[in-house]
Symmetry: C2
């Protein structure tokens, strides 16, 4: 069986031919750009898939290549799904709502291709389980803090998709529910993403730069100018003991730690995989989160827990989606 993984985000469309050993045999990458209506994207995704399906396996004799061989196609998509046919309920990244993406892609590709559509974070976590930082683990929670917060759950060695393919929405766990809770892009308030998601943290720092620039003097100096400030500079300042940066991290870190701890109380995972741009670029913040997690989670639930960094980077979603697609009925 030929395996192809696709990672469809708001910026990049990536696709790869994946070997049975989870190694990437051939890869393709393009910008999503415009137009990004479903029909245009389906056509471009299908073209990338068809080209990769014709690449012979590097480690298999070319004469074994069978043009009629089934192609398992797994697409990880930055979207909230509904049901198991790849209907996108909502994707702010692609600006889609209630779009039959999976059915359209399957119709466009034809019967040789077997299409599965997965939430991107779910696919990424599955990739880490089959070939990365959680290899061999049966109970895993993977959490990615980038622009937003995505997560995936594996229990008893299987990905948890849930009743409507929306499991792993840890980013929308509530950490505040008073009247002052921060609004979240999802339409609700007090979600942990609205406090720790990169775009929300960025906005909070910009707001502080405007409102109380003196307190951010060290952050600005590290960045070489107010307009150049990133979260990495805030983290570097926190590492030096800067009061503003430390206070921000001390306010925010416990909120993510509580959301993680509460999920671990329910799941009793053996491994917590942490990834995403915010955590990889902000080691001081990560350290605060991990330290607080050990206070927030019930001791018995984290006794066997190991916390590791994601290992496969951008490839995880491709590898995970391709593997999930091979498991389809």
């Amino acid at each position: 069986m030929i395996r192809i993984g696709v990672d469809l985000g708001g910026t990049n469309l990536r696709a790869a031919r994946v070997g049975a050993d989870h190694a990437i045999v051939a890869a393709h990458r393009e910008l999503v750009g415009e137009p990004r209506d479903v029909d245009s994207i389906v056509a471009r995704v299908a073209l990338a898939i068809e080209q990769l399906a014709d690449v012979p396996e590097a480690h298999a004799p070319i004469f074994d290549d069978d043009p009629g061989e089934v192609v398992a196609v797994g697409v990880g998509i930055a979207a909230m799904l509904r049901g198991d046919d790849g209907t996108v309920a909502n994707s702010p990244h692609l600006r889609w709502r209630d779009q039959p993406f999976g059915a359209r892609l399957a119709a466009r590709l034809g019967p040789r291709f077997r299409v599965g559509v997965y939430n991107d974070a779910n696919a990424v976590v599955w990739g880490e389980v089959v070939a990365g930082a959680a290899r061999g683990c049966r109970d895993v929670l993977g959490v990615y803090v980038g622009t937003g917060i995505g997560a995936g759950v594996v229990c008893n060695g299987r990905l948890v998709a849930g009743a409507s393919h929306t499991a792993g929405e840890l980013g929308h766990a509530k950490v505040r529910w008073d009247d002052d809770a921060e609004p979240c892009r999802c339409g609700s308030r007090g979600c942990v993403e609205a406090y720790l998601g990169g775009s929300y943290l960025d906005r909070a720092v910009r707001r502080d730069l405007a409102a109380r620039p003196k307190q951010l003097a060290r952050v600005v100096a590290l960045a070489g100018g107010a307009e150049l400030v990133t979260l990495a500079h805030v983290d570097a300042a926190a590492g030096e003991g800067d009061a503003y940066a430390l206070e921000l991290w001390e306010q925010r870190a416990p909120l993510l730690a509580v959301a993680l701890g509460n999920a671990l109380a329910v799941l009793n995972s053996e491994r917590l995989v942490l990834g995403g741009g915010v955590l990889s670029r902000c080691p001081v913040l990560l350290d605060h989160v991990v330290t607080t997690l050990h206070v927030a989670a019930p001791a018995a639930c984290v006794e066997k827990l190991s916390i590791v960094a994601a290992a496969l980077g951008d490839d995880a979603g491709l590898v995970g989606a391709a593997d999930l697609a091979t498991m389809q009925p």
Copy 2:
């Protein structure tokens, strides 16, 4: 295979022979009482099991009974477990800490008996899945609010035990983490159990009875005396619009709703089974929890959710533990 389920709590020791159709064929019940050291309890549990193992299946011809037949014994225990051999890490109900209960029971019973030990709430939820309110469901969260709060999780049709058999500790999800968070019997603070568990709610009402008796006049009148007040009277008063009772429920209900909603955001369960003495005796509180849950949980995660009352009562744990025991390797 002969199936026996045991439910070992702080008050009752119950055991039952369970048919392949999950019906209870014969049952036994005694008070736990004293002494309750591990050896004494193991001896009494073993005796109950041996007697039940000799009862012929009511619906099978007696001449089919084979005295050498394997007996699958599942014990649901009110304890936090560690590992898969039935070691009790901690049971406030039995006053045990780090006791090798499962190994002792298996040794006492001998090779004909195959012993599995499970957290009681996990066993109860599994019982509801195989024969009760969640029959046929693949993704289930079951939460029981009694003296404390217990829970069980089923994903992809399988019970989630977790890395150290402590999955489902939703009662110890944190709903407050400020300095004034309520202390919990588990040693931590701010656990949802410390706000909604029956013993904690009871204590809060007793405290209010002493501190501001006038505000509880209606509750006391419904009970027929301050010393007779139970949570059911508080709930009845809330149903009449009594200000004290409504305020208490409006403070507490959202905390359970958030804990449930956050778990559902991660699990995307198709069914939420609610049970336990507090929820069954306090319909107004339950209604507040369910209403708030639909605000607290991400809409997409509860789109397919049905919320039902537990159906099997005290039998659920017996049926669930017996069935789990048949699945052991």
